[in-house]
Symmetry: C2
Subunit: 410 residues, 2 copies
């Protein structure tokens, strides 16, 4: 029956897999400093106002703005220096009409003050008097209480992947332990009678396992927890045993290799034998990466990735990475190919098929150019030479030199 | 004398710091699976040819290309099926003129064969004869011996940061342990009488420490080894002791906070008291981030970053991140701002000053737009709302809505 499967589009493949995937909803508590790049399990709200008071953003004098209205070089506004704000302390009194208090960047405005005059726009007449030579508006050079966020505000949503500044806002909110999602566990199995582990010297007809290592790194980079299950020959019984083991211990399993028809048939038969619904599609309109199997076994996605290293990584990026990184396929696809560059040569493509071309980037005269790295998808060196993948959409029969393409950086 | 320092450009700041920085040349051996995102200590060369033999990239028949010349649907080339290649094995003989051997993707070509005919372009006449209906050129559907790389080839250069595919090529070359650079050790000190740790509830005039956490995450993201040295008040003796301790244990030290003139004077005086050459510049033509101190003490760079969280992170990205990530400032600056987007509103800027604007990105009608996130640089929430930083070069007095800007994604 497998012969009935037709190559489907990337979009269809994502919709199909999406139906059988739900990210694990378990979490763990980690200290804030260990939470970088982890995804929040829950929404996080602020408990207090930040800052908790009006703060100066400049060195100068806290004032009532209206006392400075009309001030100029020729006609300064004269104010009495009635106090000084010390850093980290509550001002010792209230600012009254006609007064100015010395204040430093970050200092708390005294009650009664509503603006800060930069020291550069004042002249000291004597110890107790300054002339202000430029007016300030209410709120000028001030961060108001709550201006960063207020008690009760949602500061970060569930699922958000924590960047350095997100650790900063959590610290600002007084949150030193965060509950983050358990990483997705991903089992990786290499298949093929010709594949040997990297520590062995390959005999005639043999090649070292590449995909286990590329995929291990790619899963890790996405924030997943990879686990290697070694190499299995194109043997139904052995592969079934190994895949069953990997499924029991992981949320998602990647098979790679076995791009020949015979090997793919073994992988598909093993998947179908292990549970429902089994193989969902077998072939994607994609280059490189056409001989891809998408499957699900009792709620866990299983991918049969092509054996060619470049093909396996392209399919991983398109179909697997978003599940690990975002817990699903993103609605904002530009995130995946955010860089725009001009292609340096004509490239043909078949209409109806998405092509992903390895490219090397270079900046010339202020514009970014993408130079295709030529070479077969079976060559790992082409991936190593490339800086990214350029996308040629399914609607096009090719791209001409000079046209803009969307690029995902490696 | 400090008053003599003038604001310098980012380029000058980089050149100045670059003179006093050399990345540590020590390394450690790690297993290949632990080497992701680490930087190679030495060049890595291949010991063998990969692949070690000519391999098929298709399922079909190994042939001598010239036996297929002129073949067509109407006039197939008839060949004798004389053998079969088994995966991972050496073919049991030689292919002679007029013969075809069955072969699968990844199989080793028998001696005498120089191309593979895809099974789709053959018809089986009987068990021992096929008709080839399309000619193949020599080398077609074949990865040649050495085509990935040859023994002795440099496969990855010293300093290269290992991506998933780089783990793959190392595995292909049989390298299972790699020597990587020791990560740069970065000490982080927050300063300011008003700063309290995040686990404390700030009193009036006090704020929680944000920069220690943002910078910790940013150092980690660059591959450095951050170490926090807590919060020090604006006190010469305490800061001197803390900075001396951090210098002894790290390759580079970041102070943050103390944006007021008084606090900056303390930081500069402490730096100058600890060794030579001391403060190198004090003020960079940059917004946000002007009140930045660049210094070196006995060969170790020290940065006095502004206290405002957005300013501190912008200066970190421009002046500190490349040292940690690349061991120096890159010659190819586009890597730092690889995304191009159209600004959604006019922004003013001062000529001679580089401006970095926090932006939120959105795709509309296939084009990427950058919407400035407005708000003071003292607000951590502006950094959290942003997807990246847009650069407004020093030569411009502003950018108009619709113009393209270069963006670095967070």
């Amino acid at each position: 029956m497998k012969e009935l499967f037709k190559a489907i589009t990337i979009k269809e493949a994502r919709e199909t897999i999406g139906k059988y995937f739900s990210p694990p909803r378990t979490g763990e508590k980690v200290p804030l400093l260990s939470a970088l790049h982890r995804c929040l399990l829950h929404d996080v709200a602020a408990a207090d106002d930040v800052p908790g008071f009006d703060r100066s953003t400049m060195d100068g004098f806290a004032v009532r703005a209206k006392d400075t209205f009309g001030a100029s070089e020729g006609l300064p506004a004269y104010l009495e220096v009635a106090g000084e704000v010390f850093m980290g302390e509550k001002p010792a009194g209230e600012l009254k009409a006609g007064q100015a208090w010395r204040i430093s960047t970050g200092g708390m405005l005294p009650p009664g003050a509503d603006a800060v005059v930069m020291v550069e726009y004042t002249e000291e007449l004597d110890e107790n008097t300054i002339g202000v030579v430029r007016p300030v508006a209410p709120g000028e050079n001030v961060i108001r209480r709550n201006e960063d966020f207020s008690a009760g505000d949602l500061i970060l949503p569930a699922g958000h992947r924590l960047r350095p500044q997100d650790l900063g806002i959590l610290a600002a909110a007084g949150i030193t332990t965060v509950e983050v999602r358990t990483p997705l566990r991903v089992g990786i199995i290499s298949t093929g009678d010709e594949v040997v582990p990297p520590e062995e010297k390959p005999g005639p007809g043999q090649v070292r396992d590449i995909n286990s290592f590329t995929l291990y790194g790619a899963v890790r980079e996405c924030g997943g927890e990879p686990r290697l299950y070694g190499i299995v020959g194109d043997n139904f019984r052995q592969l079934k045993e190994r895949l069953a083991g990997a499924l029991a211990e992981n949320d998602l399993v990647l098979l790679s290799g076995g791009s020949s028809v015979g090997a793919r048939d073994v992988a598909a038969a093993v998947i179908d034998a292990l549970g429902r619904p089994g193989v969902l599609f077998h072939g994607v309109s994609l280059k490189p990466g056409k001989p891809t199997i998408g499957a699900a076994i009792e709620g866990k996605p299983v991918f049969g990735l092509p054996g060619h290293p470049a093909s396996a990584l392209v399919v991983f990026e398109l179909l697997v990475a978003p599940l690990i990184r975002f817990g699903g396929y993103p609605r904002e696809p530009f995130w995946e190919f955010p860089v725009r560059a001009r292609l340096t040569r004509n490239l043909r493509s078949a209409a109806g098929r998405e092509d992903y071309v390895r490219v090397k980037l270079a900046l010339r005269n202020g514009e970014l150019y993408a130079d295709p790295v030529l070479g077969k998808s079976g060559l790992i060196a082409t991936l190593v030479k490339a800086d990214g993948l350029a996308k040629i959409p399914a609607g096009k029969e090719g791209v001409e030199a000079g046209e803009w393409v969307a690029v995902k950086l490696f």
